[in-house]
């Protein structure tokens, strides 16, 4: 039972904490979020220089061989900074899919570029009416003489408009909802028949609606049996989101506590009012419980499937509830000021609430946790 970070992890934490603290101020974040692609290319280059884009990948492909805890260290710091760069899309989801499903050649080639900051990825998976179901893939993949072609729609693809390569899930066999028969395919952003409509998200990021109309695509590994890789990559994504939420909750709690101590009303700091004190304590308690589950999710990424998935689902439930609670209470305890665009906390609150809408919400993961606990799911 050891909760301490390794020497490498401590160094990583120092690096990323310093970066966020010194170079990722709220103004810079807002400017990057408001830009056309929704993030800063210069900042991305810095991530590459500092090795952050290499964290989770095997050393064989130029990665740092980090595990869940390393990812947690990075994501928590990014949560503190409300980082908008496409780390989840490119490194955590996209990169993991390549690592888990790709051929050796694909791994070497694509991850090499990702680590160098030269390639952005996005995971085009969700579909209209699919909600959070990972097996809800209706997009068709058909093989003909000149290779594979994809046809279908993908919705709310995170950072899909910035990606050089989309990793698209498509069905080679079976029906929508089947876990078997799902393949992963690489689609270049300039492929014929591909339409990508980018738009801002309410939490300061970007997403895209993607239409594929007979688009030429390269299979990522063997087509047709990609579900386990998708599940494992999404598990990493959930663990990263949980850690990000913990970082953002930390800032929300610190900001609120600071406000309670400095803001005066009726002649005394509002933090002297016991009802508000107790609510601040509840926020901190939620944060500690969320932190525990973010740690557990990170630590269990390497466990066998059922234990891993049961843990990440439990973590996402805990984080979904805690983040919602902290976001709403942080606004309420502040009052009007936290309702404004120019006050950073409002953006933390939005991100915290919206994390529940990424990779499965509280209800989805509660059901999934139950199925995995009671053995009613495969």
């Amino acid at each position: 039972m050891d909760f301490s970070l390794s020497e490498e992890q401590r160094l990583l934490k120092e690096t990323v904490d310093r970066l966020v603290r010194d170079r990722y101020g709220f103004e810079a974040r807002q400017a990057a979020a408001a830009s056309e692609q929704g993030f800063s290319r210069a900042m991305w280059a810095t991530f590459a220089e500092l090795g952050l884009l290499a964290v989770p990948f095997p050393e064989a492909v130029g990665g740092l061989g980090g595990g869940g805890v390393d990812l947690m260290v990075v994501a928590e710091a990014f949560g503190r900074g409300l980082v908008v760069e496409p780390y989840l899309a490119t490194v955590v989801l996209g990169g993991s899919l390549v690592e888990l499903a790709g051929s050796d050649e694909q791994k070497a080639h694509i991850l090499g570029h990702v680590v160098a900051g030269e390639k952005l990825l996005a995971f085009a998976h969700g579909e209209p009416d699919g909600r959070y179901d990972l097996a809800h893939v209706g997009t068709r993949a058909e093989e003909s003489g000149d290779g594979w072609r994809l046809t279908g729609r993908k919705s709310v693809v995170i950072n899909g408009d910035a990606a050089d390569t989309l990793i698209v899930s498509a069905r080679t066999a079976g029906g929508t909802g089947d876990e078997a028969g799902i393949g992963l395919f690489l689609v270049a952003s300039d492929a014929a028949g591909l339409t990508v409509h980018g738009n801002p998200t309410i939490d300061g990021g970007r997403s895209a609606e993607v239409v594929l109309d007979g688009v030429a695509a390269e299979p990522l590994g063997e087509p047709g049996a990609a579900f386990p890789a998708i599940e494992a990559a999404v598990a990493r994504g959930i663990a990263a989101l949980c850690a990000e939420a913990v970082g953002a909750m930390e800032v929300a709690c610190e900001t609120t506590l600071d406000y309670l101590k400095t803001r005066k009303q009726f002649g005394r700091p509002i933090g002297s009012f016991q009802a508000l004190q107790h609510r601040m304590v509840d926020m901190r308690t939620e944060l500690e419980q969320a932190r525990s589950m973010a740690i557990l999710a990170a630590a269990k990424l390497g466990a066998d499937r059922v234990e891993r998935e049961r843990t990440v689902s439990a973590a996402k439930v805990t984080i979904g509830r805690a983040a919602h609670h902290v976001a709403e209470e942080a606004i309420q305890l502040h009052g009007g000021i936290a309702m404004t665009w120019e006050y950073a906390l409002s953006h933390y609150a939005k991100r915290l609430v919206m994390i529940d809408h990424l990779l499965g919400d509280v209800d989805f993961h509660t059901e999934r946790f139950i199925a995995l606990t009671d053995g009613t799911a495969a």
């Binding site: 997403s207 009052g335 009007g336 609430v353």
Partner: protein, 399 residues
């Protein structure tokens, strides 16, 4: 005890409903139902229709051209308005400053301002809140110094809703900084927004919308005749206004309409291939709110019946405010959850009336998450729910 509406009240409801069908502009109603942005003109067209029918002064006595309606009639009107998609009446003129003018204004003030409110000549906004004051209104700092037959006003107001459209602002200003208590030495002024020295600066809320403003006063000269009542007694008038602001504080009609909209969404959204409304957990959450709203409606009607019988609503108003905002916020929270991943895209242009682009996801999706965040204000503005609890603890429980 008879919890049915009387035949007269039923007939009144039919009359209101008929009016909504004929006189509420259809494009405005569609915007309200779709959660779209309303322009100044949208508000004015709707309120003009009400004015022509003699129904703008909902809470006014007939002697000033008001409806003279009973509390139950007002409740029915508000419910039908919400159901039909009528925008809320902008309260600052007709429901906030007007009662103060009626009660404390001079004959000249009444004769001048009230008809201009009722015929939409003047759009009013409020100048109560100040930066750093929050729910502690009496700590205001805006100064008004007497100079002949004018006051010279300097200072800043904030959270001024729709101030960008306003012709007039009513302001609390400090006229005696030496007064013993913060509530003393405050005066109540009516200020023409065209007076030199007034600057309106937008505050963008977390949903990206321009709804409230800061208003700066830099040597603004206000005729002494624009003062309501006596100098330094403004707190009295301010408190009177605050009690009158609490019309339809429970917002039952609005929550009912929001719940109907939520059900529409939940019937359309799919979960594992079935309508979300059939999901046991989601449906139970919705039922809980639906039942809370039934109880709130009854609590509201109990208070109304009490008022109608001559009682004065005290701490009950605070209970209605707390539960009313909780229910409304809970509905917006469920609507956001119902959208699933489609809560994320932020398609601001889709909120404009003229939008004819392709929506991201279902057509109802665009305003939902933004609306959820915007509605957080309900428990903060107009006396935060914490302040309401303090009021109940003190006034009703004697703690």
């Amino acid at each position: 005890m008879d919890l049915n509406f009387t035949p007269e009240e039923q007939a009144f409801r039919d009359e209101v409903r008929a009016f909504m069908r004929t006189d509420l502009p259809a494009d405005v109603a569609a915007k309200v139902k779709g959660g779209k942005r309303l322009t100044r003109d949208d508000h004015v067209r709707w309120m003009t229709a009400l004015s022509k029918r003699g129904w703008l002064g909902v809470n006014w006595p007939t002697e000033y051209g008001g409806t003279g309606w009973s509390p139950v009639q007002r409740h029915i009107f508000e419910e039908e308005c919400a159901a039909a998609g009528g925008p809320r009446i902008i309260a600052f003129g007709v429901n906030m400053v007007a009662p103060v003018i009626m009660k404390f204004g001079t004959a000249e003030q009444k004769a001048h301002y009230l008809p201009r409110i009722l015929d939409l000549t003047d759009w009013w906004c409020q100048g109560y809140s100040e930066p750093g004051a929050g729910s502690d209104l009496a700590s205001l700092k805006t100064r008004a110094v007497r100079d002949g037959d004018h006051y010279v006003v300097n200072g800043q107001k904030t959270w001024t809703t729709l101030g960008q459209h306003a012709d007039w602002i009513f302001c609390l200003v400090r006229t005696d900084p030496q007064a013993a208590k913060p509530q003393e030495g405050i005066s109540f002024l009516l200020i023409d927004m065209k007076t030199p020295g007034i600057t309106v600066r937008p505050i963008i809320l977390l949903d990206g919308e321009h709804e409230v403003n800061e208003v700066f006063f830099d040597d603004v000269r206000v005729p002494v005749g624009n003062r309501i009542g006596e100098e330094n007694l403004g707190w009295t008038y301010a408190k009177y206004l605050l009690t009158h602001e609490r019309t339809n504080i429970a917002g039952v009609g609005l929550s009912k309409e929001a719940l109907r909209h939520l059900k529409t969404i939940a019937r359309d959204q799919l979960k594992n291939g079935r309508p979300l409304i059939e999901d046991p957990i989601f449906r139970a959450r919705m039922a809980q709110i639906e039942i809370d709203l039934m109880a709130l409606e009854m609590t509201n009607l109990r208070v109304l019946a009490d008022v109608q019988a001559g009682g004065a609503p005290g701490a009950e108003s605070s209970i209605l405010k707390i539960k009313g905002t909780e229910v409304r916020q809970a509905i917006t929270d469920l609507a956001r959850r119902a959208l699933g991943p489609y809560a994320l895209p932020f398609q601001s242009e889709a909120l404009d009336g003229g939008f004819n682009g392709e929506p991201i996801g279902p057509g109802y999706a665009a305003p939902v998450a933004a609306h959820y965040f915007n509605m957080r204000k309900l428990s903060i503005f107009g006396g935060s729910n914490e302040i309401q609890k303090n009021i109940i603890a003190k006034a009703s429980l004697g703690l």
